[in-house]
């Protein structure tokens, strides 16, 4: 395979001296390795080829500087000086070996090579906790910036926990101006009666390669809304997993990805209905230009005791160029009988009649394409609950579509 990545294991070993959590993760990585297309979950993306790893990023001793905007800021995997203690939430950075209990409770380190690699290399666990019985009005914005050199693997590790009966919105803004190599893992845990919205915006330099794992667990009576807005870079791999560990919970899982040139985006999602009476709604859309490719996998597991499950899944792809290619793969595994599950997938182009109608009214072809493409993206954006975040995402997508829709 790749000469570049043949020595990753050696790099991992050299990087770590001892420590238990690490040692276990390294053992797992030793067994699993960097996934290739022979690995079912990575069928559409050869990690060993797509994620350049020439060295491992070592974080600076100094704490990065926080911005003046009041945002929580993570630079190259390290937390900048956090905001003052707060009645609604807490944020702290620890080492991997003294991380909070919830650490590693959700992400499948033993079965996923990329998670094992992250745990092997993460230098810190950043823990954001929403306190019990609080409601945050404004969204918490977490700026996750990357400044690392090309081929230098950086492995941020984030833990989001929502206390009992809490209500919050979090925006994860991932950005880089460099062609960073990123392997990030975020674990999300919702205690009973928690309501949480997490919107991830991925706005990387065009040559960046990003693996982003988002692993979620929901206790009973919780509502989680996840949105991934991927604006496109050389490689974007989102591994999203959500498990219902309690009854009567709801998950909204939404994604919109834009790709152009020879970019590749792979959204791999897995929803595990393990308890009765839970509902999930999944909507992913892809907008593809150039020779770009996008893949969507929608795995839904309904365990035999998970009666009264409702799981709806839709994946739609819009090809703006004849060379673009979208793969879509629903995978429903249903072991309960009293369930309502559906899935639908489409791959299509802009409608010629709609384009002509707009042109006949004097709207130029580029603008007509942009208006129709924005309309295609609109329902995913509308599902974002927080109004400010929705406006930000709409604008970011609108700007990117200006170039994407030009012929």
């Amino acid at each position: 395979m790749s000469e570049v990545n043949d020595n990753v294991l050696a790099l991992v070993r050299a990087h770590n001296k001892s420590r238990d959590t690490r040692a276990a993760a390294i053992e797992c990585y030793e067994r699993l390795g960097m996934p290739g297309t022979d690995c079912e979950a990575y069928r559409f993306t050869d990690m060993a080829r797509m994620l350049p790893v020439r060295s491992i990023h070592k974080t600076a001793a100094d704490t990065p500087k926080a911005g003046a905007d009041g945002h929580i800021r993570i630079v190259d995997g390290r937390l900048a000086t956090p905001p003052e203690a707060n009645a609604h939430f807490s944020i702290a950075e620890t080492g991997i070996d003294n991380a909070p209990d919830a650490f590693e409770s959700v992400a499948p380190g033993v079965s996923d090579g990329m998670v094992a690699l992250n745990t092997s290399l993460a230098e810190a666990c950043i823990h954001l906790h929403i306190k019990s019985a609080t409601a945050l009005d404004a969204p918490l914005v977490v700026d996750i910036d990357f400044t690392t050199a090309p081929g230098q693997l950086v492995s941020p590790r984030l833990l989001l926990t929502s206390g009992v009966d809490s209500d919050a919105r979090i925006v994860l803004r991932q950005t880089s101006r460099t062609a960073a190599s990123v392997n990030m893992v975020t674990e999300v845990h919702l205690a009973e009666h928690a309501r949480l919205e997490v919107v991830t915006v991925q706005d990387f330099a065009p040559d960046a390669a990003v693996v982003n794992g988002l692993y979620c667990a929901q206790e009973a009576d919780t509502t989680l809304s996840l949105t991934l807005a991927s604006l496109g870079c050389r490689l974007t791999r989102n591994s999203v997993e959500a498990s219902f560990d309690g009854e009567r919970s709801h998950l909204d899982l939404n994604g919109i990805c834009l790709t152009q040139g020879s970019q590749h985006t792979d959204n791999h999602t897995r929803i595990r209905h393990l308890k009765p009476g839970c509902t999930s709604g999944e909507l992913f859309k892809g907008i593809l230009g150039g020779q770009s490719t996008a893949a969507f996998t929608g795995m839904v597991l309904v365990a035999d005791n998970a009666q009264k499950t409702e799981a709806l899944q839709t994946n739609r792809n819009l090809l703006l160029s004849p060379q673009a290619k979208a793969d879509t793969r629903p995978q429903l595994e249903i072991y309960a009988d009293d369930v309502r599950c559906s899935h639908g997938a489409t791959v299509g182009q802009l409608d010629a009649e709609q384009l002509f109608y707009m042109q006949a009214r004097g709207i130029g072809l580029d603008q007509a394409r942009r208006l129709l493409t924005e309309a295609f993206a609109a329902d995913v954006i509308e599902r974002i609950g927080d109004e400010t975040t929705r406006a930000t995402v709409r604008e970011a997508i609108g700007t990117r579509l200006e170039t994407l829709t030009q012929q």
Binding site: A352, E353, Q354, F356, Y357, M358, Q359, A360, R361, G362, I363, G364, L365, Q367, L371, L372, E374, A375, F376, A378, D379
Partner: protein, 252 residues
């Protein structure tokens, strides 16, 4: 003043020749009706004039405002003052009427070297034009034609025409699917927007619409050719004798 001059126009779709040598001259201020049995090529003619890329012009020429119409993009034809009211207006879910019209009006202004309208001026213009066609205020808040009834769609076409103030108005079967009240509203709108420097082509299957929009000339299109031209009395003759009268005469 000559607004439109069509000479020996031939056009095909999917390799099948539909227009087989159309000749037609239209001067400013005139109203021309084009009638003919279903499938004779009326919508094809309007689509070719508007620049629908699904059709290929294989022969002939069209001059509009002294310009080579066939050399212009569909959007530039609109900017030059050509307007087609579609027989089947297209639904565009997710694009609001307001955004759609704003784009259309401002692109035309840009073509004319004018600054875009301010948001306030644009909304004022919308309100003003809505009155002309008596369109439901809510329609402009909805997505373009989405879920509109047949009558609402046709009214919306006339509303767009009012917004864009074209010099050549092509109405393709504006009467089809309309009840008599909606028909009157649409026809009134067309008549009120009539100017000495604009012209109208009314495409219709039936004589009924021509009671409201009175033509100066009537052309009968059959099998891709204009086979007969007359004054407004031709519509009455056609009403009486039916299209079989034409079909028999111009079998081949």
């Amino acid at each position: 003043m000559e607004l439109l001059k069509i000479e020996n126009l031939h056009a095909t779709i999917d390799g099948k020749e539909i227009l087989r040598g159309i000749n037609l001259n239209i001067n400013a201020g005139e109203t021309h009706a084009i009638m003919g049995p279903n499938g004779s090529g009326k919508s094809t003619l309007s689509a070719v004039l508007a620049g629908n890329p699904a059709y290929t012009v294989t022969e002939g020429s069209v001059r509009f405002n002294g310009k080579d119409l066939l050399g212009l993009t569909p959007e530039d034809r609109a900017h030059e003052g050509l307007f087609l009211s579609f027989q089947y207006p297209v639904e565009i879910p997710g694009v609001s009427m307001t955004n759609f019209m704003r784009a259309a009006v401002n692109e035309k202004r840009r073509y004319q070297g004018l600054a875009p309208l301010s948001s306030g001026d644009f909304l004022k213009l919308m309100r003003q034009k809505k009155q002309i066609i008596d369109i439901d205020a809510n329609l402009t808040n909805r997505a373009v034609n989405e879920g509109f009834s047949g009558g609402e769609k046709k009214k919306n076409e006339i509303f767009q025409m009012a917004m864009l103030e074209p010099t050549l108005r092509i109405l393709d079967e504006t009467d089809s699917g309309l009840d008599i009240d909606a028909l009157r509203v649409c026809a009134d709108g067309v008549n009120r927007l009539k100017q000495p420097d604009n012209a109208t082509i009314v495409i219709t299957h039936y004589q009924r619409l021509l009671d409201y929009i009175v033509p100066d000339f009537i052309h009968i299109l059959y099998r891709g050719r204009i086979v007969m031209t007359g004054g407004k009395e031709l519509a009455l003759e056609l009403e009486e004798k039916g299209y079989d009268w034409i079909k028999k005469q111009f079998q081949d």
